[in-house]
Symmetry: C2
Subunit: 390 residues, 2 copies
């Protein structure tokens, strides 16, 4: 359980993305109704538009977007560095904006990063203090320290130097926050170090020693799931040894099997574009490990299919009786209602998965429940209280 300025978050929890101040296609009440207690806003995008001053004039991001519960904001580092490291395509794709120019890094210096906006090509600067200043204006419950997200193809030498700079940036973030940050805002440092065991341990130690409130795990987590789980395991083991009480966030990870492993490794919170982005591309989450928990409803085989999106699923979409055939039709026709219904289904699926894992931890049954979910059991989303009510 995280106790934050705008409320409590039961953990482990998944945190849906409200990248630009809205969970795409949904209203905040829909997201709350699915059981979510926190969303993630994107410092980089919100800095460029509508800008921190405008959001601050509303009293912060909670007031602006009418989300009454906790918000975590990322530092902007991932987006800024993606532009230089060539990973920005995924960030940019799937947005409704036309006439935008591609963003680009102008220079990376000790002070921070100079870059061009993807919106209008204008030049901007972001360093540790800028990031904290923007996050202070957003008044998020959890701010993340500014870091360089080193790509998988970086050399060991580059990764080592970058990770050390990330630690210096963390110190500057905490200094700025001590002097100027909002009182209720907590700050998480970010462990980097690529796929190097010693660098991950050193980074864990440096971040713990900085005295930050919580710890996020970022950067390249490897070439495949096996390596990713290994890197997370090294890091969580070290964090557990050094600072067992401090909450841990795993950045950008949200595939079903990865969430299960993450919970087993002691991760408290996760964020990922996956469930909402897949929904907008017509993919529904289902308990089918062989298909990576996915079914592509755009495929012509679902034309006219009268099966539920997921049989027995208690989400508002399946409970209302929407079929694979209807969703297929809406998606093919480009009807926005299709994306919206699948977004609710996918977020509902993940919410129930996390609720099952939370309950399993509380009842001491995590190994059994994790194994069942990993093998394709449908998450039921029973909370401790509803279990106790029986």
């Amino acid at each position: 359980m995280l106790r934050l300025e705008h409320g409590q978050v039961r953990t482990p929890a998944f945190v849906p993305l409200a990248t630009r101040g809205a969970v795409r296609t949904l209203a905040p009440a829909d997201v709350r109704a699915l059981g979510y207690e926190m969303v993630l806003g994107n410092t980089f995008h919100l800095m460029l538009s509508p800008g921190p001053d405008l959001i601050e004039s509303f009293g912060g991001l909670h007031e602006f977007m009418r989300w009454p519960a906790p918000i975590i904001t990322d530092s902007g580092g991932f987006q800024v560095f993606s532009m230089g490291h060539g990973g920005v395509a995924d960030e940019i794709k799937g947005r409704g904006r036309s006439g935008r120019s591609d963003g680009a890094i102008v220079s990376i210096e000790e002070d921070g990063v100079r870059f061009r906006s993807y919106i209008d090509g204008s030049e901007w600067f972001m360093g540790p203090e800028t990031s904290m200043q923007v996050q202070a204006a957003l008044r998020s419950d959890i701010a993340l320290a500014f870091d360089e997200c080193t790509p998988f193809h970086a050399t060991r030498d580059y990764t080592a130097r970058s990770t050390e700079r990330t630690h210096r940036w963390l110190a500057r973030c905490l200094r700025w926050h001590d002097e100027h940050g909002p009182r209720g805002q907590t700050v998480y440092g970010i462990v980097q170090g690529g796929v190097e065991h010693d660098l991950r341990l050193a980074s864990s130690q440096a971040v713990v020693q900085s005295g930050c409130d919580g710890i996020a795990i970022g950067g390249s987590l490897g070439r495949d799931k096996h390596q990713m789980h290994e890197v997370v395991a090294w890091t969580t083991a070290e964090l557990h040894r050094l600072a067992p009480e401090r909450p841990r966030h795993l950045l950008g990870i949200g595939e079903i099997d990865d969430l299960i492993v993450g919970v087993e490794l002691g991760i408290d919170t996760f964020d990922c574009a996956m469930p909402t982005r897949l929904a907008r591309h017509g993919i529904a989450l289902v308990p089918d490990p062989a298909a990576r928990w996915r079914v592509d409803l755009v495929k012509s085989r679902w034309r006219g299919c009268s099966e539920a999106v997921l049989d027995g699923c208690p989400c508002p979409v399946c409970a209302a009786g929407f079929t694979r055939g209807y969703l297929h039709y809406l998606l093919r026709a480009g009807e926005l209602t299709g994306m919206r219904l699948l977004t609710e289904h996918n977020l509902g699926f993940i919410a129930r998965l996390m609720a099952d894992l939370r309950l399993a931890i509380n009842t001491g049954e995590l190994p059994r429940v994790a194994a069942a979910l990993r093998a394709g059991a449908a998450p039921v989303g029973e909370t401790q209280s509803s279990q106790l009510d029986k």
Copy 2:
């Protein structure tokens, strides 16, 4: 009050468009929550995709789209003839589908209309029997007879001949429906006659004499609002004289002042793309007659504005505290949540307007309430029962 196969509809009522089997951006439960009791599905679009057989295999459009209350389907005539008469642009614009070719009329004959699909250029035929057959497959509560929607620029001679053909088509529709139509489905004939007084009266007589269950007013209603109100007044007066008990639908009309006039002239139901289409273009409905009840939230003057979309508005969007500044930001950013929130606001506004007019009729205060709404009073949406509860 209309008593239909899938339930009752309190009248006068506005009927939101679910053109292609969904009220764009919303789920059926949202539309119900706003107080709507009927939606309109589009025979032409649903015939082309996903096709009547597919929808019939689900048990009809109600089951397919999970709308539990009455549905009215238009005949498809308006869309088919729009392609020939050059008005298809509005129909086509604002859709999410790419790669479509423009549709076109191949020929108009006594039997019906041959045309090319806007989806793939394939050739199709629609006549009175086709239209009724498709609407039978959709199992709508109210089917509209197949008609030619004559354009404003048609000659008197063309309009006269077309209107007579529409009457012959109505007879064929009713004959087909008597033999093959679903039992619970009611059929409305459509009065045409352009802006010609004598043709409108003759058409009203012909449609009443056909014995159809209800009567829709279609076709060109004139060059401006004054003429439109005049044409509707001629027609409703004649219908009131000939068949006072039969329900009347006014096709494609939904501007606020027109709804008020329509109710005063005894119209029972209205459908129009306006409130939902305006929402997707960033325009909110507000009680401001001087601005045609519209405020364009895309305009830069709303940047950072902390006012409600409409002060004191009880709709779910305004009640949740969303501001003009936030909506402006979402609309500019192309975030789908913006369109969705405005769709709810606009449909909420119209639902309250109609509720106020219904209550005014029941309490004998229609002249006073209509005058107040026309002058810019905010609709409150008080129902008879909530009034009586006081």
